[in-house]
Symmetry: C2
């Protein structure tokens, strides 16, 4: 038997993606995934804490890259600028993973349990961004709000990018941040003095 266990993990997540595509998430059991990967159900749960997690392997590296991107932004950058810098820095990572991410999205789109997990993962990314901003000296509450808003912009860009891949992720990111500005700052303080 192999010593590393890393190849078993890769086979498992590959088998999971295949089976989920073939018969859907709910209709495939963990035992079936394990069988296709050539291991036991118990081994599956040793590599992944639950069945859903098999589709989200490798998120840690992405989180780390995002954090690095925030910290690598110029010192004088505002919170939103730092986030913009971070998103641009991980863009190659997103593009490279697209071939694997695309079929995965199709599976997620039709299973609520996986959509719920996506939300958790997104929240984790927001927490990472917020922590990175705080390490730049940003106030805690502001960092949390900025991270959440920034993540909204990133999701927005990813959505528009999926519909229009020709423009490039970079352009969509820029447009998303522009839309953000238009939304919250139409010119005058319209909220604090509503009328």
């Amino acid at each position: 038997m192999p010593r590393s266990g890393e190849d078993a993990r890769i086979r498992l997540r590959q088998a999971a993606l295949e089976l989920f595509r073939e018969r859907g998430y709910d209709a495939t059991t963990a035992a079936e995934i394990a069988a296709r990967a050539g291991v036991t159900e118990r081994t599956f749960f040793r590599h992944f804490p639950d069945k859903r997690e098999a589709l989200f392997d490798g998120e840690d590296a992405f989180r780390a890259a995002l954090s690095d991107g925030v910290l690598a932004a110029p010192a004088h950058a505002t919170p939103m600028e730092a986030l913009f810098h971070a998103f641009r820095s991980v863009e190659p990572m997103i593009s490279a993973n697209r071939a694997f991410a695309e079929p995965r999205e199709a599976v997620i789109a039709q299973t609520p349990a996986l959509q719920e997990r996506v939300l958790t993962k997104t929240a984790g990314l927001i927490a990472t961004l917020s922590a990175a901003l705080r390490r730049r000296g940003v106030d805690e509450a502001v960092a949390g709000l900025a991270a959440q808003v920034g993540m909204a912009a990133l999701s927005y860009a990813a959505r528009t990018w999926a519909q229009d891949p020709a423009a490039g992720m970079d352009a969509h990111l820029r447009r998303a941040f522009d839309a953000l500005q238009r939304l919250s700052a139409p010119g005058a303080p319209t909220v604090t003095q509503p009328r």
Copy 2:
């Protein structure tokens, strides 16, 4: 046996909250909740699709109120103004439910599975807000982004309110929207021309 089933539902969610507080979410089984409520485990799952949902009963009414609040905003209101109006309109609802919500938050705070469900509920609220904005004629993509950002502000306000209840939810809401503006509009377009 009662005809309505509504009282059984109330006993179930009450029993769930009590038991979760006493021994934690993971350590209490659905059968135990049902037993304390005087019904069967099967009945529990007839009222709630899963164990977590027992803690989120009544969300539908809140969603409906939020939607109404958005639609009731003045016709000339911008998207963010409409959201601000909606949040102010449901403030009594939030305050009234606080006695029940507070112990619930304590349970949620220490169980990841419930935190994940909170995220799902929040996403549902965002979808509701987005749909309501669209019915006001707001562009779909903008509505989605505005709803997400607005929800971030609401969460922000709820957090600061929990730490400083004296100021009133209304004041915290206003501060949250102010913070939003400061974040995205520091005066000059700092993102599109980063330097």
